[in-house]
């Protein structure tokens, strides 16, 4: 799908030209007949792609999208597993990290409160495996503790059940819990949040920023990455100021000018805006990258770009400052 740059500049209800003329048409054109979205056009509906598409459309908040969003939300509701989690694709039997995104998409749009509650409960109970007895034994046998520098008592969330905490799924979970007012969070949520926050700081790279979660291996400092740094900072945005946050923001700001991928660029821009840090305008860079590869038809990129360009910043809704319960 190619869009004409010159004819496409406009504005739709608070969103700027690139989102209105490129991102939203892509999302609207590629909703599947079942109501969900796939990672690419004609791909099977997936929970992650559907969650991000819904969040992007919520950023636009344009009334004609109401029916589109409702169909997406219905698909998402139906994909939930009996234990409250969501699998990557409908029909798969095990829930995983996408549960946070599904809850976030529903919560931001005040939909399906019962489903969100069950999802949050699942998240509170979904402990990663490091720190368990089996993990400690395995770690000792492999000598892993001398190779990787981390405090394994600080646990966040894993990508899949039975594996270790990583920065990105931990950040997603923190973001969704932040969207819900404290009194509506499940029991145990506060402990998980505190541990997860500490885990994020523990996994921060020595020079600031985050990679997937290995700050130091064999004594060598890990290199931060843009995407994970942006997610971690967004997850920590409502927490107290800290030197770690500041140096990570400095790193991201410095890296911004050299970013070559549209996904990283959109996430970095969103994050810097959230912290009121200056960043060069996103749109011209997105147009250039779009002209090169059409974002490889990746729905996630179109959705993240739309969210980053929106005035609404739906991801940054905070339950701390209001009485926002689940589905209220």
């Amino acid at each position: 799908m190619r869009l004409d740059q010159d004819s496409g500049r406009g504005s739709v209800s608070g969103i700027t030209g690139f989102a209105a003329s490129c991102c939203l048409p892509f999302l609207l054109a590629h909703q599947n007949p079942d109501g969900g979205w796939g990672y690419h056009p004609q791909a099977e509906s997936s929970v992650e792609a559907t969650g991000w598409a819904l969040l992007a459309l919520a950023s636009a908040a344009h009334e004609p999208y109401f029916e589109v969003r409702m169909r997406g939300l219905r698909w998402l509701g139906q994909a939930q597993l009996p234990d409250g989690s969501w699998p990557p694709f409908a029909g798969q039997s095990a829930g995983c990290w996408v549960t946070s995104l599904a809850c976030l998409a529903l919560q931001v749009q005040d939909q399906c409160p019962a489903a969100v509650t069950r999802g949050l409960n699942w998240l509170v109970d979904a402990w990663p495996s490091e720190g368990s007895l089996g993990w400690q034994l395995r770690s000792r046998l492999l000598g892993a503790s001398s190779i990787v520098r981390q405090d394994s008592s600080l646990r966040g969330w894993s990508w899949t059940p039975g594996t270790a905490s990583w920065v990105e799924p931990t950040s997603y979970a923190l973001i969704v819990f932040d969207c819900v007012a404290p009194q509506f969070r499940p029991a145990g949520a506060e402990r998980r949040r505190r541990l997860a926050e500490a885990m994020l700081y523990d996994r921060m790279c020595p020079c600031g920023g985050w990679n997937s979660g290995n700050p130091q291996v064999y004594g060598v400092a890990g290199e931060p990455r843009v995407g994970t740094t942006a997610w971690a900072l967004l997850a920590l945005r409502n927490r107290a100021a800290s030197a770690g946050k500041q140096c990570s923001l400095d790193w991201l700001q410095q890296a911004y000018g050299g970013i070559r991928g549209p996904a990283s660029l959109s996430l970095a821009y969103l994050c810097l805006r959230a912290y009121s840090r200056p960043a060069a305008p996103l749109e011209p860079a997105l147009w250039d990258l779009y002209e090169r590869n059409q974002f490889l038809d990746s729905l996630l990129v179109f959705a993240w770009a739309a969210i980053a360009l929106s005035d609404k910043l739906v991801l940054l809704a905070s339950g701390e400052r209001g009485e926002k319960g689940v589905g209220t």
Partner: protein, 305 residues
């Protein structure tokens, strides 16, 4: 793609494997001709088949040390199209970096290969299907794999010649971790680590055994690979239709005894030939291109003595 049962056989039930070592001075050399002549010499037929090239694209690395060089990928694509393949696509699912396009743009794949739309597939975000693993080295039993991989007639593993700080070396077999989809297993694909990296390598390759391997050893990586090592110019491409034999040959070029590498030794019992007397070298001899790599202390025991 080799899902048929015949791919799992002990060495005594296999013919010797042929592995070609080609000396290539630089990425500017006529790579497509080198690969074309080698594939012809090894007698592979890809006419009317859909070919999937699986490079090792890991990080946005402008220095060209971490990732399979785009010139090699482009040359392989040109070669297989020249040999009559119906289509030749490039697919990769990076293990850490979610922004795959950032990697492709940084290494300038488009500049070497032309427009990527319809050619490159992000295997992390592909549609998936469940596949029962045909071996039980790990406890994985079943994994979801990208449909692009499952539908390909001919899979080519195209790793970089690198050390690996967990398993010693990362070559054709380890490179196949990149077909495991991040959308199901995350970034990194931590489930493979928990299953045991060596065991997971065996199970993934026992199920999706690459039909051909092209190892980019023009500039490899030594030391703390696969990301934080240092460049190691070796000036070779290593190719063959037995990934175990190819990896064994690469290990020997790197100055290692492949039998001391856990997953290679086990792969040599079922997935291909590892013993040097069962590998027929084509082109350069190992001795003539051997370039001992530097390794982290824990892997010095792997050295050939």
């Amino acid at each position: 793609m080799s899902l048929e049962a015949g791919t799992l056989r002990p060495p005594f039930a296999r013919s010797p494997s042929r592995v070609a070592i080609r000396r290539v001075a630089s990425y500017e050399a006529g790579l497509a001709d080198v690969i074309f002549e080698t594939v012809q010499e090894l007698g592979l037929d890809v006419r009317a088949r859909s070919v999937l090239l699986k490079p090792n694209f890991v990080e946005p690395d402008p220095a060209g040390v971490i990732d399979t060089h785009p010139a090699v990928v482009s040359a392989a694509r040109e070669c297989f199209l020249r040999l009559g393949a119906r289509e030749v696509r490039v697919g990769e699912g990076p293990g850490h970096e979610r922004d795959t396009e950032a990697i492709l743009e940084t290494i300038r794949l488009r500049d070497f290969m032309g427009p990527l739309s319809g050619v490159f597939v992000d295997l992390n975000l592909d549609d998936v299907a469940p596949v029962s693993l045909r071996t039980r080295a790990s406890n994985l039993k079943k994994v979801y794999l990208p449909k692009t991989v499952l539908r390909a007639d001919f899979v080519v593993s195209m790793p970089k010649l690198k050390t690996h700080h967990w398993v010693g070396v990362t070559l054709s077999l380890k490179n196949m971790f990149g077909i495991v989809p991040g959308c199901c297993y995350g970034w990194p694909k931590n489930v493979l680590h928990w299953a045991g990296i060596s065991r997971a390598i065996l199970d993934i390759n026992g199920t999706v055994r690459p039909d051909f391997s092209i190892v980019d050893g023009i500039v490899g990586m030594e030391g703390n690979g696969p990301i934080q090592g240092t460049p190691k110019p070796c000036g070779v491409l290593v190719m063959g239709d037995d990934p175990v034999a190819v990896d064994g040959t690469c290990a020997r070029v790197m100055g290692l005894a492949p039998e001391r590498i856990d997953y290679l030794r086990k792969a040599g019992t079922l997935l291909g030939q590892l013993a040097s007397d069962k590998i027929i070298q084509v082109g350069e001899s190992i001795a003539s291109v051997r370039a001992p790599f530097a390794f982290l202390d824990g892997f010095r025991r792997l050295r050939a003595t």
